[in-house]
């Protein structure tokens, strides 16, 4: 497994975000704030890191003249998470 990805998902906020995005099509910032139970500033930084790594996609648009941002997981994000999860499960079995 890619060490970079493993390091990235070691952060609980990033791991919560990726896990939640695995179960939904799209999600807005407000919902992610509730799910991750973090602050706006911290979440923004973690989302930016996930986006830079190509694990999530960020789409910005205007809805009723208000700026809105949608987040979704990318193909790379899905495969990375699946690999990461498999590793965690195999570790549990070995233990």
């Amino acid at each position: 497994m890619n060490k970079e990805i493993e390091k990235l998902l070691f952060n609980p906020i990033r791991l919560k975000t990726i896990s939640f995005l695995m179960t939904v099509e799209t999600c807005n910032f407000k919902a992610l704030l509730e799910i991750t139970d973090s602050t706006k500033g911290n979440l923004s930084i973690q989302l930016k890191k996930l986006n830079e790594a190509g694990l999530i996609k960020i789409e910005k648009y205007f809805q009723k003249s208000y700026p809105t941002t949608d987040y979704s997981i990318t193909k790379k994000g899905k495969s990375s998470f699946e690999e990461f999860y498999k590793q965690l499960i195999s570790y549990k079995k070995v233990k």
Partner: protein
């Protein structure tokens, strides 16, 4: 953070995805009320609705179109409030959008050939309700759809029936009652 803690985080995050079926219940109730009210108004005041050759057409096309605009606005608003869309939400949204297009197409065809579209629309609605009920695993909607389908087939063999009353009965049992039971049920996880 240990491996077990990581697994716990993943499980907790996945468990937080709730499928909110209240907006679907609202849509079913809203459309049932619109169609039933329109049918009853048409039935009791035919002179007003059929005032001219095009008045009934305007009545049956303009009000549902306004309803479509309102429900689209409501669905966008409730989507923003919930904050996320699951794969299931997307499937349901696509199915009903296709039904909306099929409704427009059926009304257009019925105008061209000068036939009443009520039975075709009810038949289509019955199929979409069955699909929806099976997908969200809500038996009342599936049963409502099956009932509506059987009722529509019955009307094909009894051409003398008043199609406005057919609309009222079919929609009441096939969509309104299942919609109410979906809207007032406890939230699913």
């Amino acid at each position: 953070m240990t491996k077990q803690e990581q697994l716990n985080i993943i499980n907790d995050a996945i468990k937080q995805t709730k499928i909110n079926l209240k907006p679907l219940g609202f849509n079913l109730i809203f459309w049932s009320m619109v169609i039933i009210s329109m049918s009853l108004f048409h039935y009791f005041f035919p002179k007003i609705v059929q005032y001219s050759y095009y008045s009934a057409l305007i009545y049956w096309v303009s009000i549902p179109l306004l309803g479509m605009i309102y429900t689209t606005y409501y669905n966008i608003k409730s989507g923003i409030k919930i904050g996320y869309e699951t794969q299931l939400d997307r499937v349901i949204r696509i199915i009903w959008a296709v039904f909306g297009l099929a409704w427009i197409f059926t009304v257009g065809i019925s105008l061209l050939y000068n036939v009443n579209p009520v039975q075709d629309i009810l038949f289509l609605l019955g199929i979409v309700l069955i699909m929806t009920g099976l997908i969200i695993k809500f038996h009342n909607i599936t049963i409502g759809g099956i009932g509506l389908l059987i009722f529509t087939v019955y009307t094909y063999y009894n051409p003398g029936l008043n199609l406005l009353l057919v609309n009222v009965i079919g929609i009441s049992f096939g969509m309104l009652i299942p919609g109410l039971s979906l809207y007032f049920q406890k939230e699913n996880e």
